[in-house]
């Protein structure tokens, strides 16, 4: 099998085989790359969810998000087994390092005491503990539903931002809701924090953390001082104590209790979100495979073409075998064997090629692509299924060539 004649014919046939292997290889590499990278990103997101330091999220859409964030936090903290309820307000603001223009950054307003217990293992050590943001309860500025107390004016700066803009701990940093410096307020930089890898790249790592009430006032989510306008947050991340954090039934119970407090807001457990993400990941994998089926079809058509072409060029040999009395299944077995061998070699090339592409992207890619490639996961079951599917489909391609071979007229072929 697969041994051919000599001279230019051999080179020609070898070229055809190499091209067929390359076509199948390309067709296999595509789903290998898509499924591995896509699956890896999903797995990373799932890992982030599973490793979060909180288990339940309260969120609500709308201009002001979860209003009365401080009050709600206190109510949620009274639910059994809840150890922390951390309201988070994420707003894009601008910082004005001395001697330079505005730098857009992501500002997160938090209650320091509540924020720290909701950090997951992946964030361990990234933040100073306790957060050096003045009043750990954020009650100095925001008290009794009004912004009557003194604002803290402390801020933590992410390491990449501090490095990029030369911001020093102990220095002042002006922060404003817009790129207009006139609306900015001076804050004391009391520390820095690290950032985990992010798909948003360096820009996403430019962040600051400041007391929730300060950010609410600065960004206009609450008016002050002396205002009675409700405060707001995007989400409230709820951390649950001990065994209840891993007990779905207990989590369900706590989730229901919180939902009763905020009937119009979305309350979801991270395990539910993980299940949804897993489901979405499955759908996405199916989509990748469907997309790849176009490439696979082209690859297999090419394989069929090469096999049919080979039958044509081996017309006489096939005629001889049939004249000698070799049964049709003997000839079919040879062609199917060749098809399977080409498909298997092509699949091997595709898997190795796909792995090499992902490794190359992880090494030389840029930004998000590089990060996503680094998260790629090569699931042997999925890749095995792809290879098995290609090899089985190659039987169809071989079938076309076999049919062509068995229709060769012996006496014609031997002329």
């Amino acid at each position: 099998m697969m041994r051919f004649g000599f001279g230019s014919r051999l080179r020609h046939l070898r070229l055809q085989q190499i091209l067929a292997i390359a076509a199948v290889g390309t067709a296999v590499a595509l789903p290998v790359v898509l499924v591995s990278v896509g699956g890896g990103v999903s797995a990373h997101e799932l890992g982030s969810l599973e490793n979060a330091g909180y288990q339940i999220v309260v969120s609500a859409a709308g201009e002001h998000g979860i209003t009365q964030a401080h009050n709600l936090t206190r109510s949620i903290l009274r639910v059994g087994s809840v150890v922390a309820a951390s309201p988070v307000l994420s707003v894009a603001v601008d910082v004005f390092p001395s001697g330079s223009g505005a730098t857009p950054v992501l500002a997160e307003g938090v209650i320091p005491d509540e924020f720290t217990p909701t950090l997951g293992p992946a964030e361990d050590g990234l933040f100073p503990s306790p957060l050096p943001l003045g009043d750990p309860t954020d009650a100095v500025h925001f008290a009794n539903g009004t912004y009557t107390g003194p604002s803290v004016q402390d801020v933590l700066v992410s390491s990449p931002l501090a490095q990029a803009d030369g911001i020093q701990v102990g220095a002042e940093l002006e922060i404003g809701p817009t790129a207009e410096r006139g609306g900015a307020v001076a804050y004391n930089v009391t520390g820095t924090f690290g950032v985990p890898p992010t798909t948003l790249g360096p820009t996403g790592a430019f962040a600051i953390i400041l007391p929730l009430s300060n950010l609410q006032v600065m960004s206009g989510f609450a008016s002050g001082p002396n205002t009675t306008a409700p405060d707001a947050a995007d989400t409230i991340e709820v951390a649950v104590a001990g065994s209840a954090s891993t007990d779905p039934a207990a989590l369900d119970q706590i989730q229901n209790a919180i939902q009763a407090l905020v009937p119009y807001y979305s309350v979801s457990a991270l395990d539910q979100e993980a299940a949804q993400l897993q489901s979405a990941s499955g759908v996405l994998t199916g989509f990748y495979l469907a997309l790849s089926s176009v490439g696979l079809t082209v690859g297999l058509l090419f394989l069929a073409l090469v096999l049919v072409r080979r039958v044509e060029s081996d017309r006489r040999s096939i005629g001889i075998q049939r004249a000698l009395g070799l049964p049709g299944r003997w000839i079919a077995r040879s062609i199917v064997g060749d098809g399977l061998l080409l498909a298997s070699l092509g699949s091997l090339v595709g898997v190795v090629g796909g792995y090499a592409i992902v490794a190359g992207l992880a090494t030389w890619g840029s930004g998000d692509v590089r990060l996503a490639a680094r998260w790629a996961q090569f699931d042997p079951v999925t890749i095995g299924a792809i290879v098995l599917g290609v090899v089985l489909l190659s039987l169809l391609a071989s079938g076309v060539a076999t049919r062509s071979a068995l229709r060769i007229e012996m006496t014609e072929a031997l002329r």
């Binding site: 004649g5 004249a323 000698l324 009395g325 049964p327 049709g328 012996m410 006496t411 031997l414």
Partner: protein, 234 residues
């Protein structure tokens, strides 16, 4: 299939017409009645296009007659299915072609083993038989050579060895010396005569060369798709 006393081969009113542009087709053979006894050495002679190869194809079950009957050892075989005819060819016929028709991708040994592999002869036995056959046709030491590494005479010797692989009762040779020089042609004819005699096989040899035909004991001459003469030597 063996009928006691029956001819090895018998054609009864055999005709073969090819479909072509002609409304009634082009007749290549017309109403052939002919029989060959077991062990005979028959030459079939005649000019090009007289139907020699068509006759050989029908005898060897490479083709089916459009009329009449082909019998082997008294049993009608011409109308069998493709699969059955292939099996009968594999077991009962050894073909030797003018252009040798060895498979270029197989060695001499593998070419000889091929019909035995199809008959599922055990590996050890077919290797031994193929080696013996190659030795018998004078190709000891050439077992691993590919066809393109052999001379024309050597290729035809391999073809003879392959034809004998499954110990057929009928050897069909279509211009077996047509592509050989006189020395190699004489050697191949001597070889064919010897293996026929050793195995008591029936040999039908198609040729348009009178010198080659002279080796046979019975001479059939064809013309325009019919047997024009059938002469036995004393």
């Amino acid at each position: 299939m063996n009928g006691a006393g029956a001819p090895a081969l018998e054609l009864v009113g055999v005709g073969r017409t090819y479909r072509s542009g002609e409304p009634e087709g082009v007749p290549a053979l017309r109403g052939i009645d002919w029989a060959i006894a077991p062990g005979e050495f028959v030459s079939v002679e005649g000019p090009s296009g007289c139907g020699k190869t068509t006759l050989l194809n029908l005898i060897g079950l490479l083709d089916a007659p459009t009329s009449g009957e082909v019998r082997w050892n008294g049993t009608s075989v011409g109308d069998r299915s493709d699969r059955e005819r292939a099996r009968l060819r594999l077991e009962g016929v050894g073909f030797i072609f003018q252009r040798f028709y060895l498979l270029p991708t197989l060695t001499a040994q593998e070419n000889v083993e091929l019909p035995m592999r199809a008959l599922r002869v055990p590996r050890a036995e077919r290797t031994r038989r193929a080696s013996d056959l190659l030795q018998e046709v004078g190709l000891r030491g050439k077992e691993r050579a590919f066809p393109h590494q052999l001379s024309g005479g050597e290729e035809q010797r391999v073809a003879v060895a392959r034809a004998l692989a499954n110990r057929p009762g009928l050897l069909l040779a279509d211009e077996p010396t047509g592509e050989l020089d006189s020395t190699n042609a004489a050697a191949i004819l001597a070889l064919l005569e010897r293996v026929r005699a050793d195995r008591s096989a029936t040999l039908v040899l198609v040729t348009h060369n009178p010198e080659v035909a002279a080796r046979a004991r019975r001479h059939v001459t064809m013309r325009d798709g019919r047997i024009a003469a059938d002469r036995r030597e004393a």
